[in-house]
Symmetry: C2
Subunit: 406 residues, 2 copies
Amino acid sequence: MALIVQKYGGTSVGSLERIASVAEKVSAARQAGHDLVVVVSAMSGETDRLIRLAKGIDPQPNPRELDVLISTGEQVTIALLSMALEKHGCPARSYTGAQVRILTDSAFNKARILEIDAQRMRKDLAEGRVVVVAGFQGVDEQGNITTLGRGGSDTTGVALAAALKADECQIYTDVDGVYTTDPRVVPEARRLDRITYEEMLEMASLGAKVLQIRSVEFASKYNVPLRVLSSFTEGAGTLITSEEEGMEQALISGIAFNRDEAKLTVLGVPDQPGVAYRILGPIADANIEVDMIVQNIAEDATTDFTFTVHRNDYEKALHILRATASELGAREVSGDSRIVKISLVGVGMRSHAGIASTMFQALAKEGINIRMISTSEIKISVVVDEKYLELGVRALHSAFGLDAGK
Amino acid sequence: MALIVQKYGGTSVGSLERIASVAEKVSAARQAGHDLVVVVSAMSGETDRLIRLAKGIDPQPNPRELDVLISTGEQVTIALLSMALEKHGCPARSYTGAQVRILTDSAFNKARILEIDAQRMRKDLAEGRVVVVAGFQGVDEQGNITTLGRGGSDTTGVALAAALKADECQIYTDVDGVYTTDPRVVPEARRLDRITYEEMLEMASLGAKVLQIRSVEFASKYNVPLRVLSSFTEGAGTLITSEEEGMEQALISGIAFNRDEAKLTVLGVPDQPGVAYRILGPIADANIEVDMIVQNIAEDATTDFTFTVHRNDYEKALHILRATASELGAREVSGDSRIVKISLVGVGMRSHAGIASTMFQALAKEGINIRMISTSEIKISVVVDEKYLELGVRALHSAFGLDAGK
């Protein structure tokens, strides 16, 4: 008998039929002898409906009141799911974030969890009840309702699992696990049985949007075993845990990619201390996030500096960069918004050499020119022309033996 | 500068436009120098929508969870109104019932208010904020969300006014006050400037459904001046207060009527102690509410016993009464569902004789036969055939000088 936290997202509770089906799933797990805490999101579309109401009043609604408003979305779901469980003869009790007491800071719309009181939940579990908790919300020291920001329900699930020292936190969603890459690009993509927190973080931040990054960080920090699985189909999903001694680890776990980037280069900048800061400072001041950064030293005591930003920020960044370049006496500014980033992710890289050269070889064999490279401990990212995305991802998926059946 | 509690019902906050217009009304009162606590209901239709969701899960939803669900209706409104006020430059803060701390008992779906903590509201008022409170809801000693039952928002308004010792509790609704009778029946009906709690209670319970009876009882108990006025038009509305010395009091305040009653009679019952209980006991056991009760003693040591019930309960009551009558050895049972009750209401009755005879005379002049009479200290009710409703009400309205312009 285990203590399990289950989290169901918006599509999983998107209608009365879906809620009834979640109640069946929960009842079944309860009958299998497990103690269950269930975290739910708002029914799909509900949060957007509430935000539309708020914007109808004020395009920039008061942040405190916005949280009072949108927190009702999850409150509706916890009540309906608890009713459905009770109707199934499965004793249940719902709690809002404030009722559990999920204490957060007072940063409305993007609050952070500070502390969770597990006492009330433990009492209900001891009395044989399923505890149903509203995701995404909490309460600050002054009793104000707060929300954790979009996708915060995953974080609620993980935080509750940590507070309760649960055996597992199961995130039910509309995909049946984490894949080696996007199956829409590579039909041979395989579901991973297991992946480490770090790999998941690299995969998620690179565009494999299965889980909220914050919830994975949280799970990693408190070492909560996290399982991603589908609420629509049966299956064991993907278990996300810390790297364990003796755990048989694939060289490469997956291939992530990102179509949303654009690349900017300033050529022939005098190579002096502080150049990177003088180039990127004005970009940061304009609230533009920078992803990859590469700097090369050229022969003539000048340097070439390249970085990537989100495509939506490309024109703005180019404009800023031109001003900076002329101040710095740089030779030239260039840019390209038709690029993609492809990344190999795997903790196996740490202990294996030759991964990069295998990667470059596979791309070269397909005639794909690499425009930019950057590496981290468990990731190698390359930038290529966007027309090569599918070809590149497929070539790498095959070269690293990730195709299904291999 | 006064402390005023304003309550806006479902139609008054039924759309974003209506909420914006309430915000303007509140801002104006704030600018006139008043301290304001505003109680709101759910947007019209919202509570019904939520109940439909619940019934879609379970026709008899768990009562605790039903309160968690439907309390979101008012929570949405307090957030939207506070946003609208803030946008108008009028500082405001919203509170759910639990946040104020409106402490209730644990009778889910029909909780009673036990205590209100005024501290937080007083602090906000002192800091120049409008306090916006969710009507209809509270929290019990264990922290469970409760609701007061339908129409409970009026009660919330009055209870807050009592707790804050407010100068006035203003109930904004879709009518502009309390009338001498229903203007749809008597076009000459007049809005009353002032009426006593007792008269209002008699008017409300007799079918003039402007205010919830409970809220009037509450106002009377704590002596909170209550004002009914329209959120759609300007005007002073009707002030409901206790009867004051030297207050010029009209003989009759109004004429109420009720089309929903049916009359049942058992004739020739042996006149023995306990007969009334033996007749009405089985009716009460069947959860049928009885309104008027009249008993006459006949010559032959038998008695005739008549009472009225809601028309929806007529067939059921008749069935029960037939069984009882045969047990009691009564001569006959009869009934009539095509009757109406017409009532004169006025505290002036206490000190003036001859009201009843004026009433009977006015009805006789129109050839209206009275089928049943019952009186209380400030009310005289008669039952007549339903076809005489309009004629009877108009005759009385005119006979007691209530017509507009008189």
